[in-house]
Symmetry: C2
Amino acid sequence: MSESISFLPFWDALTDSEKAAINHSVFIQKYEKGTVIHQYSGNCIGLNILQKGRARIFITSPEGDEITLCRLLEGEVCILSAACMIHNLNFDIDIAYEEDTESCIIPKDVFKAVSDTNPSVKDFTLGMVANNFSIIMDRFNQFAFSSMRNRLSNALLEHYRLEKSRTLHLTHDALARDLGTAREVVTRLLNQFQSEGLVCLSRGEITLLDPESLSLSS
Amino acid sequence: MSESISFLPFWDALTDSEKAAINHSVFIQKYEKGTVIHQYSGNCIGLNILQKGRARIFITSPEGDEITLCRLLEGEVCILSAACMIHNLNFDIDIAYEEDTESCIIPKDVFKAVSDTNPSVKDFTLGMVANNFSIIMDRFNQFAFSSMRNRLSNALLEHYRLEKSRTLHLTHDALARDLGTAREVVTRLLNQFQSEGLVCLSRGEITLLDPESLSLSS
């Protein structure tokens, strides 16, 4: 059994036979850095608990423009990857693995069976869906109502928290994909930030000179 | 007992005592046309089933800009009004009653108690949350990736379906609030639609000359 599984909040509420069913079916899926998976309600493999690595969840326009909805970090559960198990949850997302990633997968049939008999598992699912709904509403609000300058500052600060370093190995293209805008817009704003002494730009790197001021300036 | 309650999909799965608890506590709440309620996780009164009238669910920026997320019609349940009962569902919305409205309310404590003991009620809640999540993801996609012309056509066609008439009693302001844009933008596009023979504009009214072409033109 993977340790990630026993950390799931519903684990202790499972019966011995439910635990056994999960233990027998759970498997590790590896994704290479750079892999992109289009996830729709027909193709999910099961509940995905990220053990190692990092993934980006995003939506894509018919023209190929992207907006990043959230990132999935170690120990986190991607409930959106389980959309096929949740009646009425019906939308497409894409998942890009930003690092070599290992996920612990509970196959959909097993998760669904346990979920149908154990109310704690249903509580967990409802809580996860509600939590993801709240995150996406927050993203929608930011997208609709914040200035691009504000959104770019927030994106830089998010990468600063992710990388735990002031020096971010990030292209302008990657930031544009996070924000759903053109690379040129990102470059123009980053140059503005540089002239204000907030960041220092060099090839393939953006260094935050003062994250605190960046946060206040937005 | 209100008839709307017995139409709820979980009704037949309730025990007699659960039915009795709901029957004793359910009440009708009236809202006058024009009433606006700010709904946050702290202030919900309970599960709201709209019996008569119409409501608009929207989000508001700190500057007062609005985007309409969806409309609530007769017979529909506003699960977002029940956010206080759903752990992890945590965001603010506004509800504007567009007509004199009567809602059937199951008080939050009663709904929560029934939901904690009856898995069918939890299934219902999960289904409603997932459904609303899907609707809002669709709206996010439209907002992020569709042209304003496209979004305006869709909004006109939505009002056409709501009013079941080609003549819409709608101000440019109201359309701007649906779309999260400025009134001037709506006016400019409507004039464009008029010059293309798609609509006819008069004081306080917009007549769709050919809904089919409007749908194709977007």
